[in-house]
């Protein structure tokens, strides 16, 4: 490697000083401090949040513009590409564990906490505290918080949404296949199909929430069933939304012809992310809706 260090592509690319991380500090601070103020009903919180969000968007835009520019001008060699890929793997791994904490909570609540409250095990919890409570799932707890609820069935919108996400995974693979064959049309069409399916998913999910709130009396405050239901589906929905935005950015770049069959890390990163979101949904469908 050291012999031909004059050709730019054999040199590991170290970027020039960049303002974006420093700007990110202010953006994140404003965003979170503002949120903390808002949830405590303190007035100027929304000003901070707006500022933070704008700054964050600006920062992300600037940062990615730099990266795209560097890539297009051929400054990245194979090794840089590998760094990006590995970075993305481990980022997704950390996201998997973030979801694992919610799945773990669901597991704990269903298999340990609620049965314990219902009188299982060697302890006299239910005998002394709640003689009426049986510990069936779904539950709003011995205090029946939030009143009577109807649990969300699996075979209506959730099943449809499963279909949507699964097919979006397929269309994305189709797009990738087009990209590899240098067929821009397939690439763009595949992406558009994926984005449409993703947005449909988000739309149905929003409808489902509205239905749950209005007709099933299933809210965040519906005891622990509502809590786990919304935290899992909510964070998933947020990730789908983010993924869709990322896909839209990739679509834009595809239309500009940024990607070549051999150099398209950004496309792949977003695709991995999308598949990850897909797999999480399968987990949700099974453990939140079906079991």
């Amino acid at each position: 490697m050291s012999q031909h260090n004059d050709t730019p592509s054999s040199h590991y690319f170290v970027p020039e000083p960049s303002p974006w991380p420093f700007i990110a500090m202010f953006a994140m601070f404003a965003l979170l401090a503002g949120t903390a103020l808002i949830i405590n009903d303190i007035g100027f919180g929304n000003v901070l949040v707006t500022l933070g969000a704008l700054l964050l968007t600006y920062m992300l835009y600037g940062w990615f513009r730099d990266v795209v520019g560097e890539n297009l001008s051929g400054q990245y060699n194979h090794q840089v590409d590998r760094s990006f890929r590995q970075g993305m793997y481990w980022f997704i791994a950390s996201e998997v564990f973030f979801f694992a904490s919610f799945f773990g909570a669901l597991y704990y609540i269903r298999n340990i906490a609620v049965p314990w409250l219902g009188g299982a095990g060697y302890l006299g919890t239910s005998a002394l505290l709640y003689s009426q409570f049986t510990g069936d799932w779904p539950t709003a707890g011995p205090g029946d918080l939030g009143g009577d609820l109807t649990p969300m069935g699996a075979w209506g919108i959730p099943a449809l949404n499963t279909m949507l996400l699964l097919s979006s995974g397929a269309t994305l693979t189709w797009a990738h296949w087009g990209l590899k064959l240098n067929n821009q049309k397939t690439l763009v069409r595949g992406l558009i199909a994926t984005i449409t399916l993703g947005l449909l998913f988000v739309g149905f999910q929003a409808y489902e929430y509205q239905h749950a709130f209005a007709e099933l009396n299933l809210t965040l405050a519906s005891g622990v069933y509502g809590s786990t239901f919304y935290i899992l589906t909510g964070f998933h929905g947020m990730h789908v939304t983010l993924g869709a935005i990322m896909l839209i950015a990739i679509l834009g770049r595809s239309m500009k012809g940024h990607f070549s069959p051999r150099n398209h890390f950004a496309f792949e990163a977003v695709a991995w992310y999308w598949h990850f979101v897909d797999v999480v949904w399968l987990g949700l469908f099974i453990f939140v809706y079906m079991v």
């Binding site: 302890l123 006299g124 011995p142």
Partner: protein, 375 residues
């Protein structure tokens, strides 16, 4: 300041006291207080065993390192042995070091497991005494479920307790010796933990759940402990005092406690008009024990956690709102509902006291029946 101080200054210097610190030294506060149950004694032995093993290992580690420091140093002209890690010792140490450590580990674990089996499982036995222990911010409530006796146990003030401040309470938990006792722990607000070292257990009190422990006390005496789980502002002020008495004395005590309880209930139920000074007198005592830990004796509260009652809108406004917050508490804050804890007369007395003290001068004499109506 304290005479004990001088005595033990020299003691910390002697780490080996850790090994030799038998109960005789307990008065110096170097080791567990003397145990009062068989299991607590077993625990003490496990503790001494692991501590002994640890001390020996530590002596070994220190010994070898100090010897190496003395022997293998450059200033003594020692030449480093560059191939030491390639000898048979270097090749196989990764097997035999773990094997030795595993052996020691299993020794520790097996003797611990024996005690654990006894400690953990509450025996199914006739004649168990069931005590429900409820942690509150910041006092303990003990209920003898079968005897239907309930006591509240609060820390004594510094003046009352003297040297025993933070280790002494107004109402002790009286327990019989020679009889297995099952403790069922729960909490009314946040996590607490009951810990009396001599009884050999510590158990968390978790709101909404019951956790169980048990003990069979074999020596009469007074055993002191404290709340061991951080529970907010006055976590330091939740002592537990167990008084272990003979079974006969225990029966007597139960009868006395029941009689006192019945008398109080009768007084509260009597439908008479209570005069202001009488209510004030009753209310003062109750307020100072039940409410003053938060709202303070002078009624000024403790900013920002606890609001003042002096000049407060509620304590000087309509009595109904005042009674309501005392009965039902304020969800999401530390203010507990007192409904289940105080009878009508007590609440009437406290509310009256609050409405006519520290410059509050509503002149109201709230009656038990007002409280009853608001329940």
């Amino acid at each position: 300041m304290h005479s004990r101080m001088k005595r033990s200054y020299s003691l910390w210097l002697l780490p080996f006291l850790l090994v030799t610190a038998l109960p005789a030294q307990a008065e110096y506060g170097l080791n567990f207080p003397p145990p009062a149950t068989t299991i607590a004694r077993d625990i003490y032995n496990v503790h001494m065993l692991t501590m002994g093993i640890s001390t020996l290992l530590l002596i070994g580690v220190f010994g070898v390192v100090f010897f190496a420091i003395w022997k293998f140093r450059k200033s003594r002209g020692y030449e480093p042995d560059q191939n030491f890690h390639k000898t048979w010792f270097g090749t196989w140490s990764w097997i035999f070091v773990p094997a030795v450590v595993l052996g020691i580990d299993l020794t520790i674990a097996s003797s611990a497991q024996k005690v654990l089996n006894k400690l953990w499982v509450v025996p199914e036995q006739e004649g168990m005494l069931d005590v429900k222990v409820t942690g509150h911010q910041w006092y303990w409530e003990f209920e003898f479920l079968d005897e239907e006796v309930r006591i509240e146990s609060r820390a004594k003030t510094e003046e009352e307790a003297g040297e025993l401040y933070l280790r002494d309470v107004d109402h002790r938990l009286v327990l019989p010796t020679g009889r297995p006792i099952r403790f069922m722990h729960t909490s009314a607000d946040v996590n607490h933990a009951m810990w009396v070292p001599a009884l050999g257990f510590k158990k968390d009190a978790i709101p909404g759940y019951i956790t169980e422990t048990w003990a069979e006390i074999d020596t009469e005496g007074v055993y002191r402990g404290q709340c061991a789980e951080l529970c907010g502002t006055w976590h330091a002020k939740m002592p537990i005092v167990v008084e272990a008495v003979s079974p006969e004395r225990f029966t007597e005590w139960v009868a006395e406690a029941k009689a006192a309880q019945a008398a109080a209930d009768a007084e509260a139920a009597a439908d008479i008009e209570w005069a202001l000074p009488k209510l004030m007198e009753k209310g003062k005592g109750l307020y100072n024990t039940k409410c003053a830990s938060c709202h303070q004796i002078n009624g000024e509260g403790l900013a920002p956690a606890f609001p003042p009652l002096k000049d407060s809108a509620i304590a000087t406004g309509p009595a109904a709102a005042h009674i309501d917050i005392v009965l039902n508490g304020k969800p999401g804050s530390a203010m507990p509902p007192w409904k289940g804890l105080l009878n009508d007369l007590e609440i009437a007395a406290i509310v009256t006291y609050e409405r006519n003290s520290w410059g509050n001068d509503t002149g109201d004499a709230v009656q038990p029946r007002d409280v009853k109506a608001a329940r």
